[in-house]
Symmetry: C2
Subunit: 135 residues, 2 copies
Amino acid sequence: MSSLTAIDHVGIAVDDLEAAVEHYRRTLGVKPILRERVADQGVEEVLFAAGNSYIQLLGALAPDTPVGRFLTTNGPGIHHVAYRVTDIASTLDQLRREQVRLIDDVPRRGSRNTLIAFVHPKSMGGVLVELVQEG
Amino acid sequence: MSSLTAIDHVGIAVDDLEAAVEHYRRTLGVKPILRERVADQGVEEVLFAAGNSYIQLLGALAPDTPVGRFLTTNGPGIHHVAYRVTDIASTLDQLRREQVRLIDDVPRRGSRNTLIAFVHPKSMGGVLVELVQEG
């Protein structure tokens, strides 16, 4: 049985990544610890540590990307929440048993040597949920 | 200097609190640990533990409440993110120095013997931010 052990991160879509990083640094006193450009997802991300969790700022590399389309439709704001689980394959099995619609039927590699999978917001009360298993 | 030590919780607005609690229990295997009706905020909340953080489901007690209006405008989904800080008064001072617009200029009592204050989403890139200091 897989356990949910943490809020891994909150993903926040921003219009201007550099300005947002500076704003988080100045207002909340947090420091960026990782920056990664994920070309196949069309996103550049910056992570800040928040104890055992992360704040993830997401900038779109182009308008025609998932985060770019989110920004066009909703404007900047919270994009998704990620839960850390001990066994992502087992969690995905459990979600399938409960007829939950998955975006990623099979886990894929995320940043920080993680395995990740997204769950469709239609099955989670409008919340885009990401599952994360650490490496 | 105040420090941001955790994502205290993610607040999720739901249409039907009982159905959502049951859905979270069955899909993610989490257990509700606290239920509280906060009449002056027009909300009933259920907390689930997620390691050192919480998942907070928020049901509106009436349409003409902050969460009720959020549901009417946006539908169900992520309502806010709360960061745990060591010294909320000092964090609010820092935000004021950075010209950030506050919803609560002075901390008030939250649940779990906490002090809380909300920050205006206009000043935080569209994100409704809550600050939480544990008691």
